[in-house]
Amino acid sequence: MDIKFTLNGNSQSLSTEPDRRVIDLLREDLGLTGIKEGCGTGECGACTVLMDGETRLSCLTLAAQIDGRDITTIEGLQDMEEGIILQKAFEEQGAVQCGYCIPGMEMAALPLLTLHPNAARNDIKIALSGNLCRCTGYVKIVDAVEQAGREIAVKKEGL
């Protein structure tokens, strides 16, 4: 099946099996290895990508489903102002230990920060509630998203 979609701002056309998992398409066929496969069954969030700006699990999404859609992966964050701020906040807060869950964490946080940079701490926790981390205990991850939100809000208000 021929599919066309936007990947991190660039248009992509390729031929693939319609039921190829998007995580395999991204990691194996396109070499975007930032997203990770944790459980493969929708319980860990490590494979989170954005489709049309909303979080989705790429391990439970098929190639045919992204035809005509706009896909953002963790590799796309470096081209977005919010993405750069978010990644820097994770570094500064020491929110990364083994790092396996972090691409999924940042992808889960991005739509919230884009729409509601001033989100309350509890809303951040809800946004991250589908993502498992086995190292950090989550506190520094939530701190990082909170810090990024503050910085994005300041930028948006033009202060």
């Binding site: 069954t41 929708g42 989170t48 439970l60 999404t61 098929l62």
Partner: protein, 271 residues
Amino acid sequence: MGECPDARLMAGGTDLLVRLRHAGADTKPPLILLSKIPELADIIMANGDLCIGSGASFSAIMAHTLVQDHAPMLAKAVGTIGGPAIRNMGTLGGNIITASPAGDSLSPLYVADAQVVLVSPGGTRKIKISEFINGPGKSDIRKDEILTQIRIPLDDGFQSHCFEKVGLRRSLAIAVASFCGRLRFDEDGTVAEARFAWGSVAPTVARSINAENALTGNRLDTKSIKKSVAEATASLSPINDIRASAHYRRTVAGALLKRFLENPQREKKHV
């Protein structure tokens, strides 16, 4: 579907793809993607019913003002499913067809006497959700049918309603027990009508007519509440599994009803 009898219909895929994966690499049926039919995601009012397309995602349902106004317990229930990404993907129709006794969207649909609309080349039929789902993972859907819509009758007279889910954690949790209830009171404070449904404590989501009838015509007092809770726990048939024992589930199911009846938080706004 007629041309390809082995094909499976896929809505959000959050249950189906996991099941196919567990079934092994040899199990790769052709899939028909319902997400390619945008009309299936519509949420509208028609003929006095709140009509939710089978392809509406849990996120869309939670955020929709018609659902918040007319089926707030459904909005609350679907908000407890999975995590945010799962809610962006999973659909109400998928939750019904999966027919898990732990399907979190189902108890509000049972309590509201919702109907499902099934379309086939031969025509359209409507059937009550409680008659449609007939066992764990089993429903009355026929080979050539598609579940297109869920119709929720607007019952404006209920002053009090609740949905509670008990899981082992707050997100990505399969319910140990869940409960949805609604109560309508007469002006003198007696219960005119009660409807209760539980998830994860029977082979399907279950109402308890005896527990409901124990309250009808009575005030909510220690005696009537005790009777209703006893009827409820007697009528449920939970199992032991990895998440909880049958005894614990039965106890929790009764406690959720008791908690609702002791503080029914009568809301001004109708359901």
